[in-house]
């Protein structure tokens, strides 16, 4: 009986994805993309793929966020459009 938790996770997943697409501040976009990755890892955990969830949490929510922030640090912080 974990479907209420999964429903909440799916809603949060869509919300973080839309937020990272819509927000103009690139730092905020990378942070919401990290949150998306973490919720994605929790969903993979809920369907039993522990190894995939571990990889997603470590790579997506851990290291790639740092790489995005370093890339923003090397360029400008706001998107041009």
């Amino acid at each position: 009986m974990t479907w209420p938790i999964e429903l909440v996770l799916y809603v949060v997943l869509v919300l973080t994805a839309l937020a990272s697409l819509e927000v103009k501040n690139l730092l905020a976009a990378s942070v919401t993309l990290t949150a998306f990755s973490f919720v994605c890892a929790l969903l993979m955990l809920s369907v039993g793929a522990v190894d995939v969830a571990f990889t997603e949490a470590v790579v997506g929510a851990g290291l790639v966020g740092v790489f995005y922030i370093v890339a923003i640090f090397r360029t400008t912080r706001r998107s041009a459009d």
Binding site: D51, F54, T55, V58, V59, G62, L63, F67
Partner: protein
């Protein structure tokens, strides 16, 4: 990122967290056979610890763990370790990565397979950690190129 952070909170948090992350990375690598984890995840965790130290303390602190020059070299060394373990079975008459046939005295074939898979995991972990740290270094660029 390039020099030591001025915030005491950042420096102390990195100093406290980095050893714990590194120890957990070693746990993940060495228990990869029979629990979630393995070479790739452990290597990424190890790289996360290195990058955390570089974020808080700058390159001057981080180079005591792994230098800028050592990144690609260690990456190549990890891949070569993987290839050498695979070729050990290949050269002694078996299929690639079929370690039960390698004539090492004192090991039963099943034990030998387990130990060789552990060596492969260590090679993968070294390669992934070194290459991801090298990607961070290259992204940040050197002191004089901007």
């Amino acid at each position: 990122m390039r020099e030591t952070s001025r915030s005491l909170v950042v420096v102390l948090a990195a100093r406290g967290l980095a050893p714990v992350i590194q120890l957990f990375a070693l746990y993940v690598v060495f228990h990869g056979h029979y629990s979630p984890g393995g070479g790739f995840q452990g290597g990424v965790l190890l790289a996360a610890a290195f990058v955390l130290v570089r974020l808080a303390g700058g390159y001057e602190t981080g180079r005591h763990q792994i230098t800028r020059r050592a990144g690609p070299l260690l990456g190549a060394a990890g891949v070569l370790l993987f290839a050498a373990v695979g070729a050990a079975a290949f050269l002694t008459g078996g299929n690639l990565l079929d370690h039960g046939r390698v004539p090492v005295p004192g090991f039963a074939p099943a034990e030998l397979r387990s130990v060789m898979i552990l060596v492969i995991e260590v090679g993968v972990a070294i390669a992934v950690a070194a290459v991801l740290t090298a990607i961070y270094d290259e992204l940040l660029g050197s002191e004089d190129d901007d």
